[in-house]
Structures are given as structure tokens and as C-alpha cells.
């Protein structure tokens, strides 16, 4: 019974062994075989993601990051925050109840690279924007254990003393446009200016920000100081926009799995 069942497999196996006996005498044949066998999976799973419309749903109100927020995102990456905080609420009931509506593909469509993460040493941050005050964020970054005694997060007090480097921002936005983020020429040209304006609402630079990124843009002294624009400003501006680039996830009925 078992022998009959296995017969077709055995035949296939014998055939494979015989073919292989020949192939392993030719290094190029072996190399081509490896490339061929290893290519199929990637082609089948990845290529369609770029063409199938349903991969990313349409979110008409989706906006791009402002230069200050993008600078904050780059600091978030630089400090390796993604190693402990995910930005992906899964379609599981407990996650939706704990964090908010589950993440949609559209929300990260301008994220180069994505920061979905693979470990939660700290909580998920996908819906962090607007949850706490700027002051809370700043104090938490300066000394996490000041607000949460049990926290194991490192302190990032040095961000407050580091002036934000804004000269490279036009180049950064231009590179992002090259990979598909729809920044306009105007936005790219004024990137450095807008970054300063967003963190200094009383300055003349502030006017351009709402003009280019919309009235809803957060225009504040994120780190509480008007002296200069710091890396703290940028990081807090980024944290306060997480999950707020589009309102789509809050509008659709969440259908979380048990």
C-alpha cells in the first residue's frame, strides 16, 4: 500500500537524481539552475504587488510628510527606533482595541522605507499622532523613566541640544520624488525654509507651510523653545503625525479577526 503510494514520487526522485548526476558536472548548469529555482518565488509574490490595484487602496485625502516631519522620520530611523516600536496594527481584535483601527496599505504608501517593524519592546506607534501633548513627548524623550518609571527606553536628551540640519532637505525631498513621492518643485525648493517655519509659527517662514501642505498642518513650537529648530522639534513633529496622514482608517468599519 505504502509502496504503491510512494511509487510516483520514487520515479520522480530517480529521474531527479539521474539528471542531477549530469548537472553537477557542469558548474554553469548548476549556477543557472540555482538562479532559476530561486527566482520563481520572488517573481510570483513580489511582481504582482506593483501592478494589482487592490494592493494599495485609494485614500484621496492622503498627504505627504512636510520637510520637518520627514527630517524627524530620518532621525527616527537613525536612532533605530524601529527596532523596538512597530508601526503596523494588525487585523487582530486585541490590537484594534489597544491601538486603534488597523493599518491600511495606503498609510505607508509614501514611506521609503516602510517601518512596520518586527518586534515590540515598546508599544506600536502607528496611531501615536495626537495621543499625547508635545510636552509629554519631549519629556518622555529626555527621560522616559520620568514619566513611566518601568520604561526600558533609552533617553534621547541630546536631541534637544542638536540643531536640525536643514540644508540637505531639498535633496532629500528630490530623492523621495525620484522614488515616487509626489512632491512639487515648489515644495522641494522651499524645503529648508518650510522646516524652520513649521517649528517657528511666529516667524515669516511659517506662512509658506500652510500654503504648501494645507491648513491642517501642525504649526507649533514642538520642543517648547523658540530659540532654534532642533532635532527634538523634528522628531516630535514626526511622532505627532503618525496615523494622521489620512483619515481613511477611522472612516471604514474595522473588521478585526478574533
Amino acid at each position: 500500500m505504502l509502496k504503491d503510494l510512494l511509487k510516483p514520487f520514487a520515479r520522480f526522485f530517480n529521474f531527479q537524481a539521474r539528471t542531477h548526476y549530469k548537472a553537477e558536472r557542469h558548474s554553469i548548469a548548476l549556477a543557472l539552475g540555482i538562479i532559476g529555482a530561486a527566482s520563481i518565488g520572488g517573481i510570483v509574490e513580489i511582481a504582482p504587488l506593483f501592478t494589482i490595484d487592490s494592493t494599495v487602496e485609494a485614500a484621496p485625502d492622503m498627504r505627504v510628510y512636510t520637510p520637518l516631519e520627514q527630517a524627524g522620520r530620518d532621525i527616527y530611523i537613525r536612532e533605530g527606533c524601529y527596532a523596538c516600536h512597530s508601526q503596523m496594527i494588525r487585523t487582530l481584535r486585541d490590537e484594534v482595541e489597544r491601538y486603534g483601527p488597523y493599518s491600511l496599505a495606503a498609510e505607508s504608501q509614501y514611506d521609503h522605507p516602510m517601518l512596520w517593524g518586527s518586534k515590540r519592546t515598546g508599544p506600536d506607534l502607528a496611531r501615536l499622532g495626537g495621543k499625547y501633548s508635545d510636552d509629554w513627548q519631549v519629556r518622555h524623550l529626555i527621560d522616559p523613566r520620568d514619566l513611566v518609571p518601568e520604561s526600558v527606553m533609552p533617553s534621547y536628551a541630546f536631541l534637544q541640544d542638536a540643531p536640525l540640519e536643514t540644508d540637505s532637505l531639498p535633496g532629500r525631498l528630490a530623492a523621495l520624488r525620484a522614488v515616487g513621492v509626489p512632491y512639487t518643485d515648489d515644495q522641494i525648493a522651499n524645503a529648508s525654509h518650510d522646516a524652520i517655519g513649521q517649528a517657528m509659527p511666529d516667524s515669516t517662514a511659517a506662512g509658506g507651510v500652510t500654503e504648501r501642505y494645507g491648513e491642517a498642518t501642525n504649526l507649533r513650537l514642538f520642543d517648547g523653545s523658540n530659540a532654534r529648530v532642533t532635532e527634538m522639534d523634528a522628531l516630535v513633529a514626526y511622532l505627532q503625525i503618525l496615523g494622521q496622514l489620512t483619515q481613511l482608517p477611522y472612516e471604514i468599519e474595522p473588521k478585526a479577526e478574533e
Binding site: 558536472r25 558548474s27 540555482i34 530561486a38 527566482s39 533605530g80 527596532a83
Partner: protein, 550 residues
């Protein structure tokens, strides 16, 4: 070592070194004020060190030895020592970052010393520094012996080894400065990535050229695995690292992909870095050193074929199981899960093949810690591939993902499989390479074995416990139908396990330090002995017509 190179080879080495040095100067000058400038200085320092090795030998007379009479083992020797040093650095960093999770004050308030910046130094130090160097070193040894031919040149093996280490140094120093593109296991920035492609293509060409010189019609199993490792890692590396730099004089770049597509590409890469860097390459080691040490032929040739093609084909589909319940379309998640489960067959084919090879040699496993390293590595390979397939199942993954269970799983693989097979191979290889009767201290090998095993088990059990507790706490509801625990409750519950994990890692690190000491002492003090037959078939001192199969 350098004096064994011909005059022309030494001059070429000098020219390459100067060319890279000039690239470093350009990076330092143009990238001034950006982190790229600092990276340029790292390149300059590295090249200066290389020049310090090369320069004194430039005027030396040509070597007189007959090259065809021996294998070329100098780069293998260097690779093993460098690899062991990386092991100590990488594992030391691992213990430090593990301790930080239990005692967050251990960072001493530098910007460079936060968990987020040191963590990639640990992962890259261990995977690429330790693992990569041992892979390159052993592959040089294995391809020459199984082809019974010497490598075609003396310069390109050195270029691959030292060029690869330049990549590792640039990567590690970049992380502490804050240079990273945040893609797991692919953190280095665009210029380091481009350099790695140059090195890797040279590696593949070197491999093919050695195979072309072989005096053995069939390509031995271990070489299939090494070849899959070289080829597919190149493929993964190039596609996953496609990015546009923000400026040619700055370190920052942006991934060509975004959101869903980026996540899928990243895990297609990430999961297969495990498959082809941390599995295929090390299976090459297993298929050569284990039968050799046990003095038994491979149990089944056909099982090796099945395992090889199964792994090469199935693994590439499995990456999407990292994205269960996310915004990735569900059909891709399901495909990933299906292939991950099927993957168990070829994985266990290799694990079983290795263990069955030991039939009739079990007494050696008892007496010889080196062989025991390899045996336990095969067992851990079987265990962690089973765990991997299990964790890829959607509901299980829903519990395990984002928790320490995943960390425990990858460390069962990294410590139990990758590190143990490497240590076993190093202990088998070192006396052979340096023409010694054996390792300097057999007792130290025993100590290393038990420390490594105890460390792995403590680490993995701590992470299983903390991961499953964490996952369960996150989804526990009370009678009123609301969540029972806050996130903070689950974090507090992790504390004892983080201490246990640090302790396990520390034991493992002590073992690695003993290993490094033992290798160095073997080179310096162990009594000499010529191996019985260790020269290419094509040499003048030729062998009998039909030498025993390797």
C-alpha cells in the same frame, strides 16, 4: 604571508589599496559635515592598515616555492582569526544590548550608545562579521580540497576577504554614528552596498574559476550549497538595496520601494538572508566537515539532492509569513505560510542526513567535542527549522510575532546552529591549516562546548517564556470583555527573563573568548605535524591514480 605573493600580485594589491584609499579621501572631503565624511575616514584608516602590511614587502624577492604543489591556505587562516575576533565583538555587543533591556541606564548617556544604534552592531557583527568571515574562509578550504585544485590566483582571495571586512567595518562604525537605512540585516547605506557588490562578484568569479580547474568530474555537495549562498545572496542584496541617495556626498538614501512593496521585498530578503547566508552556506560546512570528522561517507547522496533543491526553491516563497495579518494582500500571506510549512521537508532531509551520517560513529561524538559541536548544530538546525515552519502558521504567528518568541527562535538558529557548526568547523580546520597535531587544549574545546550549549539553552528558554507570556498578555480579556493587561504590564513581566537572557548570552560569549584563545594558542604553541595528504592532484608530488574520495 604577503611574501608568498609574487611581485606583480603585490603591486596590484598596492594599486587596489591606493585606489580604495583615494575613494576614502574623496568621501572624507566631499562628505565633509555629513556622516559620509566620517565614514571616509574609516575607509582611510582601514586602507592605511592594509598599506602597512603591503608596503614593507614590496621590494622583497619573488617567492621560490612551487605554487602547484600546495593549496593556498593563507587567506583561510586570516579569515578564521578575523572571524573569531568578530565573534567576540559581536557577541560582546549582544550581551551589552541584552543587559540594557534589563538595566536601561547601562548606556552611559552617549548618543552613540543607545540600544537602537548598538543593536545592528550586534546583528551585523555576528552574522556578517563572524558568520561571513567563517563562510569565506571555509569555502576557500572546501572548494580547493573537493576540487583537488588550487585557487587560480593569490590576489583575488585576499581581495574578497579584506574587501568584505572593509564592508563590515564601514557598516559597524556607521551604525554607532547613526548611518542606517533601517532594513533589517541590510542596514548599511548605499556606498557600502555598492562596494559589497564589487567584492561579491569577485567572490563568485573566484569560485567558478576554481571549479573550472577541478580534477574531479563531479562538483561535491558542499560546493552546491556554497554556490547557492554566493549567487542568491547577490540577488537578494542587489534587489533589496535598490535606493536613491539623497545626495552623492551624503550618507542618506531612500529605498526604491515603499509601504507594502517595501515590506514584501524586505522580508523576501530578510527571510532568505536566513536561508542563503545563515543556512545554505553553513550547510556547505556541515556537508564537508561533519562526514570528514566522523570519517564516514554522507548517509544519502539522494537526500542531499532533495534537500538542496528543496531549500533553493521553497525558501524564496516563505518570506511573506513575516507579514501575517498586516496590510499585505492575503493571498501572498497564504502562499508564504504554505511554502514555509513545506520547507520542513528539505530542512529535515539535511538534518536527518547529517545525523544518520553519524551512525556507527556515535562513540566519536562522545569523545570528540569538535564532532559534538557539529552534531548538536545539526540537532538545532532540525529544531529551529521545525519551529520556523510552526511559527509561520497564521494563528501561531499572530501570537508569536512582535514578541521575544521570534528573538528566541532566531537565536536558537544563530547560536545553536550557525555558531556551533562554525565552531566545530574551526576546531576541525585550525590544526589542519597550521599543520598541528591537534588543538592546543582539548579541554578548552570541551569547556567551550558546554558553555555554548548551556548559554543557548538558557537564552532560548528565557525568550520562549517571555515571548509567549508577552503574546498571551496582549490578548487576554477579563470578564467584562475588555483587555486585562496594559502594554506596560507585559513589559514589567519581561524583566526576569531579560536578566536570564543576558546571563545565557554571557556564557556563550565566554565560550567564544575561550575559542579565540585556543585558536591563537594552537597557532603559537601546539606541536607540529604534517597532514597525511594535503596537496592538489595536479601537483608534481602527485597522488595515486584514484585517491580516496574527499
Amino acid at each position: 604571508m604577503m611574501s608568498k605573493l609574487t611581485g606583480a600580485e603585490r603591486q596590484s594589491a598596492l594599486l587596489i589599496c591606493i585606489a580604495v584609499l583615494l575613494a576614502g579621501v574623496a568621501m572624507a572631503a566631499l562628505g565633509h559635515g555629513d556622516l559620509m565624511g566620517a565614514q571616509g575616514w574609516v575607509v582611510i584608516a582601514y586602507c592605511a592598515l592594509m598599506l602597512w602590511f603591503i608596503m614593507p614587502t614590496i621590494g622583497d624577492p619573488e617567492p621560490t616555492e612551487d605554487r602547484s604543489a600546495s593549496y593556498y591556505d593563507d587567506p583561510t587562516k586570516a579569515g578564521i582569526i578575523i572571524g573569531m575576533i568578530w565573534a567576540v565583538i559581536g557577541m560582546g555587543m549582544g550581551v551589552w544590548v541584552a543587559a540594557m533591556l534589563a538595566w536601561p541606564e547601562l548606556r552611559f548617556d552617549g548618543a552613540w550608545s543607545s540600544f537602537g544604534r548598538l543593536r545592528p552592531v550586534h546583528t551585523s557583527g555576528v552574522i556578517f562579521g563572524f558568520g561571513g568571515n567563517i563562510l569565506i574562509a571555509t569555502s576557500y578550504h572546501v572548494m580547493q580540497r573537493t576540487c583537488r585544485a588550487r585557487m587560480p590566483g593569490q590576489l583575488s582571495p585576499w581581495f574578497v576577504l579584506m574587501g568584505y571586512n572593509l564592508f563590515c567595518v564601514v557598516a559597524a562604525s556607521g551604525y554607532v554614528m547613526g548611518v542606517t537605512q533601517s532594513k533589517e540585516y541590510a542596514e548599511p547605506e548605499w556606498y557600502a552596498d555598492i562596494w559589497l557588490v564589487v567584492v561579491w562578484v569577485t567572490y563568485f568569479v573566484l569560485y567558478l574559476r576554481t571549479l573550472a580547474r577541478r580534477n574531479e568530474p563531479h562538483i561535491y555537495v558542499a560546493n552546491w550549497y556554497y554556490m547557492a549562498f554566493i549567487l542568491v545572496v547577490a540577488m537578494l542584496h542587489i534587489i533589496n538595496n535598490l535606493a536613491v541617495p539623497a545626495s552623492w556626498t551624503g550618507a542618506k538614501s531612500y529605498s526604491a520601494f515603499s509601504g507594502v512593496q517595501d515590506a514584501m521585498t524586505q522580508w523576501w530578503y530578510g527571510h532568505n538572508a536566513v536561508a542563503f547566508f545563515l543556512t545554505a552556506g553553513f550547510l556547505g560546512m556541515l556537508y564537508y566537515f561533519l562526514p570528514k570528522r566522523a570519517e564516514r561517507p554522507i548517509y544519502s547522496y539522494r537526500l542531499s539532492i532533495l534537500s538542496f533543491w528543496g531549500i533553493t526553491f521553497f525558501y524564496m516563497w516563505a518570506g511573506s509569513h513575516h507579514l501575517h495579518y498586516t496590510a499585505l494582500p492575503q493571498w501572498v500571506q497564504t502562499l508564504g505560510m504554505t511554502f514555509s510549512v513545506m520547507l520542513l521537508v528539505p530542512s529535515w532531509a539535511s538534518a536527518g542526513n547529517a545525523l544518520m551520517t553519524l551512525n556507527g560513529a556515535w562513540h566519536k561524538v562522545r569523545d570528540d567535542a569538535t564532532l559534538r559541536f557539529m552534531m548538536v548544530a545539526a540537532v538545532f538546525y532540525g529544531l529551529s527549522t521545525f519551529e520556523g515552519s510552526f511559527m509561520a502558521i497564521r494563528p501561531v504567528n499572530g501570537l508569536s510575532h512582535y514578541t521575544d518568541w521570534t528573538i528566541g527562535h532566531v537565536h536558537a538558529g544563530a547560536m545553536g546552529w550557525v555558531a556551533l557548526i562554525s565552531f566545530g568547523s574551526i576546531y576541525a580546520l585550525a590544526p589542519l591549516l597550521w599543520r598541528k597535531t591537534g588543538m592546543y587544549s582539548a579541554k578548552a574545546v570541551e569547556w567551550h562546548f558546554w558553555l555554548a550549549l548551556a548559554g543557548t539553552i538558557i537564552y532560548v528558554f528565557a525568550m520562549w517564556n517571555s515571548g509567549i507570556i508577552q503574546g498571551l498578555m496582549w490578548r487576554t480579556y477579563n470578564e467584562t470583555g475588555t483587555l486585562e493587561y496594559s502594554f506596560l504590564d507585559s513589559l514589567i513581566a519581561m524583566h526576569p527573563y531579560y536578566i536570564a537572557r543576558t546571563f545565557g548570552g554571557l556564557l556563550f560569549l565566554i565560550g567564544a573568548c575561550i575559542g579565540l584563545w585556543n585558536v591563537v594558542m594552537t597557532v603559537r604553541r601546539a606541536p607540529r605535524q604534517q597532514p597525511e595528504r594535503d596537496y592538489p592532484t595536479s601537483s608534481e608530488a602527485s597522488e595515486p591514480a584514484l585517491p580516496a574520495a574527499e
